[in-house]
């Protein structure tokens, strides 16, 4: 262009430099060629100028079109209008139209200088061009179709309506239809026309084709741009949803809101809902922009879509349901499905889309978007909704996992707490069960809870969730393993029993407790030990709201722990009892052994004591006799009497052994039935002299009818003599007027007899009362310790007991308890 203008504007200068470069020479050629005639030159100039103008205009138009394409991406109307106008002007046409081809019909999208009537006509009905019309031929051939005179064309002559309309209404004569096509498909047509018959030149055809190509570019650009935008928008929405899912930490509502807001916007819907599917019904859990009446209707009751309804089909097939016009469904027209009627009449729903939310192939809910006009959703929107549904599923699953995690953690913490208490050395069953019940109530969302152990006759042992005043009521309720209570049924069946509403249960008999405490849903879980119920853990709710499988499982878990606690307590108690028993028997063995040793010591001490006295006499007499013999003259009289005494004392010493042998040597031979009262009387009459000598009054209380005892009369006599002598000794320091001896007998239990010997002396020093029966312990001036030790030994050999206690108001009382009948082996 620049070269041309130089050549045209400054020829002289070019001439002067003819030896210069090739370009200049070339530039001079046209001038030289057209130098032949002026007119020819002028024509040439005009042509060139025209071409120049055309080219410039074309350039401008193209630039304009490209600018429009760039500046208004997506909004194609002005681009087509402008492109069409440029094409019409540049190729000297009068009118023009741009159509979009959808594979079935042509849709008018831009016109130039066409009469409004014609445009209206075209817009009313889809344009399915006649096969012989320009458009029809263009569609068939996918190449430009140039009709010099449409009025002479076959389509017109055959009366094709659109051709007739074009000729007669729009006044088209010469027409040119150029296809708009991408590499893959035909997307429309670009048509220009003249109101008189004047064929388009090749150049003009090329121009139209060029503009058609521009239009295609614009359409393609717009499409790509739209796709880009959409995908961007989707990505933004998705990322926003994901952001919310990540950031919400189980706050599902935020996720639902975000999803629904984005879904509604991106799908160009009026409103949207999210439902949860529980296996039987859909429950509205989130909504966005939903008409209040419709939302309230859905919230009021579970949404149970009929199997024949479209949503029912979605539930059944777990596939997307897309309804173009809900109002056309017979479920609505025949008012068969109230939920659909509600959707249409309360929500104004026409077109809607329901996308199932799935988890591992199972339906968990649905997400829906609605339009209040009949305008189907695009595939893209459906795909988008599917993606949203997946995201909500993920969010639900996340929330569920989170909740499960939290629950598990809570349960583990609870379990740890309980195990901590159970493992404490100072084991307090009440505390453990209290904690168990409290945790169970809190973790399974109950209002009340109680443990009813069998060993407490199924009374409530630990109660949680009641004010003190009501605890009384709960604790007083008597349970029995019968069908009248949930507790009873649980104990009978040995497995969890749930009653959703005790008021609705005709067999429930604990009406009084129910009235006072006000519970409705009751769950009983048995405490099982080796398969047998040892108690029941009961959870109650004030509202009618059954416990879920999971909660029941949780309560069972707690019941197991309660069993461990109760078992531990039982085992601990048994262990303690056994330990005590063991301790007692060890103590008994030790005492027995000690007694045996003591008996030996007692015997030895007794024998040696009894023998010392005569031995001392013998030694003294011997010494005396020897000395009297040494007198001058020997005092034989004294010697004789001393020797006589020695003989006597020797006999006395041997008597000691005889007596001891008589007392203990052949004990069994001496056994005979003894009337205790007679024995007492005999001993007292024998000691009558001593009593009188000491000014002691004897008071006897010997009731008749006592069973006789079996024993060694001599030994028992010795015991009583010993006790009475002790009493006499004890009262030695008393004023004579006060000296009183009481001896009484009485039956003791069913098969024993008691003999009590009571004195009015100063009593036993409490510090020594534990040791008075030990050998050699002297409690009184006359050394009675030996006597008491021997006495106890004798009594115990008879299977009895000898004990001492303070008497009232003063003195001591010694009691001998002896078994009646044959004492059998104890006598040995």
């Amino acid at each position: 262009m620049r070269q041309r203008s130089k050549a045209g504007g400054k020829p002289a200068k070019a001439q002067r430099r003819k030896t210069l470069g090739r370009k200049r020479r070339n530039a001079q050629n046209p001038l030289r060629r057209d130098n032949s005639s002026v007119s020819g030159r002028e024509r040439e100039v005009a042509r060139l100028a025209r071409e120049l103008n055309e080219a410039a205009e074309q350039q401008r138009a193209t630039a304009e079109v490209l600018r429009l394409i760039n500046s208004s991406p997506g909004d194609l109307e002005p681009v087509f209008a402008s492109t069409l106008a440029s094409a019409v002007r540049l190729c000297g046409a009068d009118i023009g139209a741009v159509h979009r081809w959808d594979g079935d019909a042509l849709h008018l999208i831009a016109t130039h200088e066409l009469p409004a009537v014609y445009v209206e006509l075209r817009k009313q009905t889809p344009h399915r061009p006649h096969q012989h019309s320009a458009s029809g031929r263009m569609l068939a051939s996918r190449s430009p179709v140039h009709i010099v005179d449409l009025a002479a064309d076959r389509a017109y002559l055959e009366g094709n309506p659109s051709t007739v309309a074009a000729v007669e209404i729009a006044g088209v004569r010469t027409t040119l239809a150029v296809p708009m096509a991408t590499e893959k498909e035909l997307i429309g047509s670009f048509t220009v026309g003249r109101r008189q018959v004047r064929p388009f030149t090749d150049k003009q055809i090329a121009i139209v084709q060029n503009f058609a190509a521009h239009a295609v570019t614009a359409i393609e650009n717009a499409r790509l741009l739209r796709e880009l935008r959409e995908s961007l928008q989707e990505q933004i929405a998705t990322s926003r949803v994901l952001q919310v899912i990540t950031g919400s930490a189980g706050d599902l509502q935020a996720v639902f809101d975000t999803v629904l807001e984005n879904a509604r916007r991106l799908c160009d819907a009026e409103f949207g809902n999210i439902y949860r599917w529980d296996g039987e019904a859909l429950h509205l859990i989130a909504w966005h922009n939903t008409p209040a009446a419709f939302a309230i209707y859905r919230r009021q009751g579970a949404f149970r879509p009929s199997a024949t309804s479209l949503v029912g089909r979605m539930v059944r097939t777990k596939t997307v349901v897309h309804v173009a016009d809900a109002a056309a469904n017979p479920d609505y027209t025949e008012r068969r499905d109230p939920s659909l009627v509600a959707a249409i009449e309360l929500g104004g729903v026409r077109t809607y889309l329901a996308v199932p939310m799935l988890k591992e192939g199972k339906l968990i809910g649905a997400i829906t978007v609605y339009r209040q006009e009949v305008r189907p959703f695009t595939d893209k929107q459906i795909a988008l909704m599917t993606s949203f549904a997946d995201q909500v599923s993920i969010a639900l699953e996340n929330a569920r996992l989170l909740q499960e995690l939290q629950e598990t953690l809570q349960q583990q913490a609870a379990a740890a707490d309980i195990l901590k208490i159970i493992s404490r050395s100072t084991f307090d069953l009440q505390a453990v069960l209290d904690t168990l019940v409290e945790l169970a109530v809190r973790l399974c969302g109950a209002d009340l809870g109680a443990v009813h152990p069998q060993r407490e006759n199924f009374r409530a042992f630990s109660i949680y969730g009641l004010p003190d005043a009501h605890r009384e009521v709960a604790a007083k309720v008597l349970f029995a393993p019968d069908p009248g209570s949930v507790m009873g049924r649980t104990a009978m069946e040995g497995k969890p029993v749930q009653v959703a509403d005790v008021l609705a249960d005709p067999n429930y008999t604990l009406r009084d407790a129910q009235q006072k405490l006000g519970y409705r849903t009751v769950l009983g879980v048995p405490l099982l030990r080796e398969g047998r119920p040892i108690g029941v853990l009961v959870m109650m709710r004030f509202a009618v709201r059954p416990f879920t499988e999971k909660q029941i499982e949780l309560v069972q878990n707690f019941a197991d722990k309660a069993v461990i606690a109760i078992e531990n307590t039982r085992l601990l108690a048994e262990l303690r009892r056994r330990t005590d028993e063991l301790g007692r028997s060890v103590a008994e063995l030790q005492r027995e052994r000690k007694n045996k040793l003591m008996n030996l010591e007692t015997m030895a001490a007794s024998i040696s004591h009894e023998v010392r006295q005569p031995l001392a006499s013998i030694a003294s007499n011997g010494g005396a006799a020897l000395r009297f013999l040494g007198h001058a003259p020997p005092n034989l009289e004294e010697v004789r009497s001393a020797l006589n005494r020695m003989v006597g004392e020797s006999h006395r010493a041997s008597e000691v052994f005889d007596n001891i042998r008589a007392l203990f040597g052949k004990a069994d031979q001496g056994h005979e039935p003894i009337e205790v009262n007679e024995l007492v009387r005999g001993v007292l009459s024998g000691l009558q002299g001593e009593l009188e000598e000491n000014g002691i009054r004897a008071d006897l209380d010997l009731p008749a009818g006592l069973a006789p005892i079996m024993g060694h009369k001599g030994q028992l006599q010795e015991v009583l003599v010993n006790l009475v002598r002790n009493a006499i000794e004890a009262m030695h320091a008393d004023a004579e007027s006060r000296r009183l001896l009481r001896v009484s007998t009485a039956p003791h239990g069913g098969n024993k007899v008691t003999v009590a010997v009571e004195d009015s002396g100063p009593g036993i020093d409490p510090k020594r009362s534990a040791s008075i029966f030990d050998a050699f312990i002297t409690t009184k001036s006359h050394g009675m310790g030996l006597g008491l030790a021997l006495s106890r030994m004798i009594v115990e050999r008879h299977g009895g007991q000898l004990s001492a206690a303070p008497a009232h108001p003063r003195g001591s009382i010694f009691r001998v308890v002896l078994p009646t009948g044959h004492p059998a082996k104890e006598s040995r």
């Binding site: 001490a605 004591h609 010392r612 006295q613 005569p614 031995l615 001392a616 006499s617 013998i618 030694a619 003294s620 007499n621 011997g622 010494g623 005396a624 006799a625 020897l626 000395r627 009297f628 007198h631 005092n635 004294e638 009497s641 001393a642 005494r645 006597g648 004392e649 006395r652 000794e729 030695h732 050699f776 001036s781 006359h782 050394g783 030996l786």
Partner: protein, 212 residues
């Protein structure tokens, strides 16, 4: 000691065992001691003790009152008599208690006859010495009683270590008068020196507290 006094000394036996009483009586008689045996402490207390050296042989185990308690009662009643204890099963605390309370010996039965005789001889000797000490004091007391009140007063002051001059000042008399009284005191008491007089005053318990 004269033979008459020796013959007067007696041994008393308290034991509820008649055989042992007789055996012991015989044993003591065989060496020429006078013996009196009793079955109980009350019998003994009813007996009038002779004015001669005596010794008591006592069984620890007695009806009514233990031998040890009886020992304490005698001491309370100011009856000073050496005691030889016999016991069937004496233990160490009992022995210690008896010995602390002045027992002569603690003999477990059966004892050797010679041990018993030795113990009784020790007891009699101890009683003899006690009685002799008691009679010396009685003589001093008799001498002291022959002093005038003023002489007794001066004896107390002299033996307290006061000078004649000081005594004169104390009593408000002349020093000469004090000297005369002092000579009388020495003569009547039969004291050969001031030191002897001090011992006598101590025995009589009339020595005044020395002046500060």
């Amino acid at each position: 000691m004269s033979a008459s006094v020796e013959q007067q000394q007696s041994v008393f036996v308290i034991d509820d065992d008649a055989a042992l009483r007789e055996a012991l009586a015989s044993l003591f008689r065989s060496i020429g001691l006078r013996v009196k045996a009793f079955a109980s402490t009350s019998e003994f207390l009813q007996f009038k003790l002779p004015d001669a050296p005596t010794c008591l042989v006592l069984d620890v185990r007695l009806p009514g009152l233990s031998g040890l308690d009886f020992q304490a009662e005698l001491a309370k009643a100011n009856i000073e008599i050496p005691i030889v204890f016999m016991t069937g099963h004496g233990d160490i605390p009992m022995t210690v208690r008896a010995m602390k309370a002045g027992a002569v010996e603690f003999l477990p039965k059966p004892f050797r006859d010679q041990d018993m005789l030795d113990a009784v001889q020790v007891g009699l000797e101890r009683d003899r010495n006690r009685r002799k000490g008691a009679s010396d004091t009685a003589k001093l007391k008799a001498s002291f009683d022959t002093l005038t009140l003023r002489e007794q007063e001066i004896m107390g002051l002299v033996t307290a270590g006061l000078m004649n001059k000081q005594i004169a000042g104390e009593l408000g008399v002349s020093e000469i008068t004090v000297k005369v009284h002092r000579g009388n005191v020495m003569r009547k008491m039969g004291a050969k020196s001031l030191a002897e007089l001090v011992r006598m005053a101590d025995a009589l318990g009339v020595r005044r507290r020395p002046p500060p």
